[in-house]
């Protein structure tokens, strides 16, 4: 079973972190990435640039529009995601709970949906 772990953080809070705290958090995330790779849970994952660099793309009636900013205004902003492999939801929750920003923000777990294959 594959799960995506999306990392949410309050950017305002992150922006108020001291440079050394910020560096320490990043180093912990990098180390966690290696740890996950070693234990076989890691399938991929990246940190993301802040929402100021985000673009939202929409398609309406076949017309593509690209707008600045994240998809919705909420208190927390998406800061990254992990694609993990876990045998069930409990294992996914356990892995997600170890993602360092879980202590600062929230991690949303969604089961990954297999898209139907186009006919050959």
């Amino acid at each position: 079973m594959k799960y995506a772990c999306l990392v949410y953080l309050q950017e305002a809070e992150i922006n108020q972190m001291s440079p050394s705290d910020w560096l320490a958090l990043n180093l912990r995330c990098a180390a966690f990435g290696k740890e996950l790779a070693a234990s076989g849970h890691r399938l991929g994952g990246e940190a993301l640039e802040p929402t100021s660099t985000a673009t939202t793309v929409r398609v309406r009636n076949g017309k593509v529009t690209a707008t600045d900013g994240p998809f919705a205004e909420t208190k927390e902003q998406l800061a990254g995601f992990y694609l993990i492999d876990a045998k069930d939801l409990d294992e996914a929750i356990e892995v997600a709970s170890r993602i360092p920003p879980a202590q600062l923000g929230s991690i949303e777990i969604r089961p990954v949906r297999e898209l139907p294959q186009p006919p050959e």
């Binding site: 079973m1 045998k87 069930d88 939801l89 409990d90 929750i93 356990e94 777990i109 089961p111």
Partner: protein, 417 residues
Amino acid sequence: MAEASQRSILAAVDEIYRAESRRVLATLIRLLGDFDLAEEALHEAFRAAVEQWPREGLPGNPRAWLVSAGRFKAVDRIRRRARFDSLDEEALGRLPADEPDIAELLDQDLPDDRLRLIFTCCHPALPRDAQIALTLREVCGLTTEEIARAFLTSPPTLAQRIVRAKNKIKLARIPYEVPPREALPERLDSVLRVVYLVFNEGYAASSGASLTRHDLAAEAIRLGRLLVDLMPEPEVLGLLALMLLHEARRTARATPEGDLILLEDQDRSLWDRAMIAEGAELVTRALASRRFGAYSLQAAIAAVHAEAPTAADTDWAQIVALYDALLAVEPSPVVELNRAVAVAMRDGPAAGLRLVDDLLARGELADYHLAHAARADFQRRLGQKAAAREAYERALSLARLEPERRFLQRRLQEVMH
């Protein structure tokens, strides 16, 4: 076979359905990996039993027979469907390849299946109201209509809640397992909370019109007993004790018209002594474990009340000490309020009033009617009529439940003169 013995076999099927259908279902869910498939299989198994048992006689182990028949019917159904729908090949693939024989099904740890079912239905990844609905539906075997009536919702709303929960179980792959030791305290807490919410839903309903809601309290106690059998952890014992000790006082706590009777005014001869004895014994076991928590402590408080011959003879010092322990385990302003009431009984209303005033000054209970009702009661007992009147009026403006409002109105009348 003679007609009489056929009739007795059909009566036996009914009896087995009542006693065993939830256990059979729990095992079928594990074997088939799907709630809906298992429910269909359960019904087909009983249909087969009604047809075959009167002809062939009761099987040696009816439960194993039902599990085996249900599984066979489900596999057969999936195979038939798979011929038309390629998606069902996947469902087929999930089934174990070999036919397990009945002896093997029997050797497996069947009680564990019910425990698996309870933990899955109360999984914290499901919404709380769905946990409650699913537990009553799958573990207790209540119908959707019964649950909807008890919770004063419409059957379609409730059915949708259950469908969504089953969908999430399937899509997010919520496991069908008893959680491992390290996750157990938190997960068990979720289970106990569901049972206690079911109990309170039934217990809070005290008027004659809510008989079906009373059944919820009985259902919660049944669940509590099942949990004690399957997993006798201290807090499991504590919760069952707490429910029994409250239930023991049910008939004494309201007039036939549904008016509240305070603990101190209750006719103690109406209390169910057998239930109190059972509850008190469970409390003792829970406390002796030294791993007890909030349920056991609340049960211990209820036991001290239940064992006092009169309100005046209650060991208030012990009750205050138990509230202190409860506050250490689970700090909450409502527990502090209850402690203040016990302190007032031990040291007099002035002491209670000081505590409640401090509590209200902190603001957390400012809109809680019982805080103002307690304050009014202390002032009434101190002869401060004007202040008591004001506090009763404040409590009345916040109280929602009719019996509570009637009680406060009566008290308000008393301090008017």
